[in-house]
């Protein structure tokens, strides 16, 4: 699997196929049983802890599904957090940077709110502002659209697309929201059970002759992935019940 610089790469697949695990592997949060991950030419899992933290600081940003905002800090301090931790900028410069980052996600006016006071969509936008605070080369989005109302979803789609173009970042979007993700991505990997099933540009994928990919992209209830969870035949199960009910 290759993720190209400066492009939006989507990783799609059903729930529980290891999409988030893949992001955690890229970020070096978990170790692979086999195989290796290279970021910016470095094998993530061969780095020492300080080198790994250095790599994360310089190149990676991540947007978690829940936003992962620090609940005891305000919106302003959340965005300030990486700047205060990793730079020696004077507070005045940090203030300007935060306002610009929050402006980019449209939440400059919400800077004094606490995370508990934000809606899910706003929390993710704040998390996005925080993720871009240090201007990372690459940003990873973990299910950015899940559980969002259509308006917030539209806002997030636009933000991810615009930021990628404006800042020249590499974006990795993990998602199972087919249409939204396809609309902004340059290249898509479809994975299932930990394996890449198909990859290509969004248009190529739509013409895929794999029945599985068609079922996934079209959101069909039955197909290669059966509607029913593996079980004995209904008749057998019912008879079983009758047998055991009889004295």
């Amino acid at each position: 699997m290759d993720i190209e610089r400066g492009k939006v790469t989507a990783i799609m697949g059903p729930s529980g196929t290891g999409k988030t695990t893949l992001l955690k592997l890229i970020g070096g949060q978990i170790k692979p049983d086999s195989g290796s991950v290279f970021v910016d030419g470095k094998n993530v899992h061969k780095l020492s802890q300080s080198a790994l933290y250095d790599l994360r600081r310089r190149t990676m940003g991540m947007l978690f599904q829940s936003g992962a905002l620090l609940t005891d800090l305000s919106v302003y301090d959340n965005v300030a957090f990486p700047l205060r931790e990793h730079t020696t900028l004077p507070e005045e410069a940090i203030h300007h940077l935060i306002l610009l980052k929050l402006e980019a996600v449209g939440l400059r006016g919400a800077r004094d709110l606490m995370p508990a006071e934000l809606s899910g969509g706003m929390a993710r936008r704040v998390a996005l502002a925080r993720a871009i605070a240090l201007d990372p080369q690459m940003i990873m989005f973990d299910e950015p659209f899940t559980g969002q109302d259509p308006i917030s979803m539209g806002v997030l789609v636009k933000l991810i697309h615009d930021m990628n173009h404006a800042l020249g970042m590499t974006s990795v979007v993990v998602s199972h929201d087919v249409n939204e993700t396809a609309s902004i991505s340059d290249y898509i990997y479809v994975i299932s059970n930990g394996k890449v099933v198909q990859s290509g540009a969004p248009n190529e994928l739509k013409q895929s002759d794999s029945a599985w990919v068609q079922q996934f992209l079209g959101g069909l209830a039955d197909g290669p992935v059966p509607f029913h969870y593996k079980a004995n035949s209904l008749m057998d199960d019912l008879m079983e019940g009758l047998k055991s009910a009889k004295p």
Partner: protein, 260 residues
């Protein structure tokens, strides 16, 4: 049947050892992260407020009543022997050697330990710890270290406050309710309490209790299964294991310190 049982016992034992190993590694990582506190003393002071100052009220109230009850009970026994003047000796030795450190350890596990576990566990389940890692901020340094150190510092301080207020409670009951002379109370105490064997041993106990309880608390939070059920279990474990550890260690330390 027996095979299943054996297998169960085996896997539980393995799990237990696994946990002990993880806990020890965790402690080591916590300790090597502590020098970060020199760069960021604010983090430590904030946690000292949360685990120390906010536990103060329960310590004060509990300490006062323990001292008062102890004075009453001692009087009932001692008066039969005409030895009611020794009440201050009884109260102060019980408090300094045993009740001060043990009560403070137990109350700390219940009040601050459970809160620490719940807080860290919730941070884990809301991905705040992962998020911090991805922002290249080590949660061991930023979250765990300050809480651990604050607990280790706070418990001996809380213990000494508990001791002081308990003795004052005993003093109040003895002089106001039981008619012991103030001078007798204090001079008996002065003659019979040794700074090293009594007070210092009590403080060493409290240092050990604080260390163990706060270690259990932060580890349970950090290691919990990030679901509501797992978090609940972790919080319960902190209180149960923390309290049992205090009582068990108290026995060992007492046996070692007082040459029984």
């Amino acid at each position: 049947m027996i095979g299943d049982k054996l297998q169960q016992i085996g896997s539980r034992t393995l799990n237990r050892f696994n946990r002990i190993g993880r806990g020890s590694l965790f402690l080591w990582q916590t300790i090597i992260s502590l020098p970060y506190m020199i760069e960021r003393p604010g983090l430590l002071i904030r946690q000292l407020y949360y685990v120390g100052v906010q536990t103060l009220l329960i310590i004060l109230v509990a300490g006062l009543f323990v001292g008062m009850v102890l004075a009453l009970q001692s009087y009932i026994v001692l008066v039969d022997f005409g030895a009611e003047d020794s009440i201050s000796q009884m109260v102060s030795l019980s408090i300094l050697r045993e009740l001060g450190p043990v009560f403070t350890g137990l109350l700390f596990a219940g009040r601050a330990g459970s809160a620490l576990t719940a807080e860290i566990g919730l941070m884990k389940s809301t991905e705040q710890l992962s998020g911090m890692e991805m922002m290249a901020v080590n949660p061991m340094k930023y979250i765990i270290g300050p809480r651990f150190l604050a607990g280790v510092i706070a418990v001996p301080m809380l213990t000494s406050i508990f001791m002081a207020i308990s003795i004052l409670g005993g003093f109040f009951v003895a002089t106001e309710m039981l008619g012991i002379y103030e001078g007798v109370f204090w001079s008996q105490m002065q003659n019979n309490v040794d700074f090293y064997t009594d007070l210092m041993n009590g403080m060493i106990k409290s240092l050990v209790f604080g260390f163990v309880v706060v270690w259990i608390a932060v580890f349970e939070g950090y290691d919990c299964i990030p679901t509501s059920e797992g978090l609940g279990q972790a919080t319960t474990r902190t209180v149960v294991h923390g309290s049992l550890a205090v009582l068990g260690l108290d026995f060992i330390l007492t046996a070692l310190m007082f040459n029984v």
